[in-house]
Subunit: 211 residues, 2 copies
């Protein structure tokens, strides 16, 4: 095993350190967050900081850096309270990644990267028409993280839209079948292969695979 | 697309709802969190709520439910301040999943599931000897999430141990090569296939794949 200490990390070239630490924590779900401002100007930004906060009520967190390109997204969420999380598939990686370019505020990333914007009558945020899984979310809580000045925004699911026949009889979603993509670090994209499902673990039973 | 509203979700059978919402947010990194209490009793618990909080300093978050089986882990972290995050590979899925069984407090999950405990002279938490990536973390901040009573614990990387030759020339870690596993929901485990890496996105350039 190769050991790397915090001291060594702190003395690394900035770019090397950023790539190392951003890819360190594994592969995380990649989503496009769609918002709009009070003038109806839409915004679309890629995030890999989606975090499950609770199932009942269904809550989801997103992390925002204080000085990042996603400032339009944060401003829009706090102003408008509604946003959508749009998962994407392998064929959309290039477009999804390109939403991270620093476009001026009056340019919609939907147009710039070539994804189709759509809106629903009953929800005040746009969504990505090509997405196989769209989750409409309403803002609930903003938490300021003291230790480094980042923010966590927590929202509650309002409704979800998923490709037909993607939910199993028991409620579970197979992301290998659905084809959603994960991000490792700032620039790498992975697909998933389901290895196995396990039965609920009990101390007096050996591990049992769900068949 | 199939639409499911919050109202429909709230009226679902509890088990169906739990499986749906837990698998909804995609595939997340799976890690074993190793701790010990003041008597030196070790604990090992599986988590899929690892979240990158920042690269400089390198900070990582974990979500804890108020009433969950991971209470030993939270107590140990708050008491001892040190813990390790142990990624695992395909061959260890059964053992890793089985740490979620509700063992009594005086049983170490290392022994119960058959993973090898090891300790380092310079760090006050155990680790999993079979892991290809171990990150030693020191507690920094506990955040209470108002909206549902969960907690986020943030820690700072102290050192990391990774399988030899797993870091690219630029600092990036390929999790397909390293073989780490992701969890979708409470019971399903996925491996990763790297699809592509992308160059830094610029408004005036088309998306470019990193070759």
């Amino acid at each position: 095993m190769q050991k790397i200490s915090l001291k060594e990390i702190e003395s690394m070239d900035k770019r090397f350190r950023t790539d190392l630490i951003n890819s360190l924590w594994g592969v995380r779900p990649a989503v496009l967050v769609a918002t709009e401002n009070s003038s109806g100007q839409s915004n679309l930004a890629i995030f890999n900081s989606v975090i499950h906060i609770g199932a009942h009520p269904p809550l989801v967190g997103l992390i925002f850096r204080p000085d990042s390109v996603d400032r339009h997204t944060l401003t829009n969420i706090l102003d408008q309270r509604f946003y959508s999380l749009n998962f994407f598939t392998k064929d959309l990686i290039n477009k999804a990644h390109h939403t991270s370019a620093r476009y001026p505020k009056d340019i919609s990333e939907f147009d710039a990267v070539g994804l189709t914007i759509d809106r629903r009558e009953d929800f005040n945020a746009p969504f990505v028409k090509e997405s196989p899984l769209v989750i409409d979310v309403c803002f609930r809580e903003k938490i300021d993280i003291q230790v480094n000045g980042t923010h966590m925004v927590i929202g509650e699911l309002q409704q979800l839209y998923i490709k037909e026949n993607s939910i199993s009889a028991g409620g579970w979603i197979n992301h290998d079948f659905l084809g959603t993509i994960g991000a490792g670090g700032l620039d790498s994209y992975y697909s998933y292969s389901l290895e196995k499902r396990m039965e609920y673990a009990k101390p007096d039973l050996a591990p049992r695979e769900k068949l």
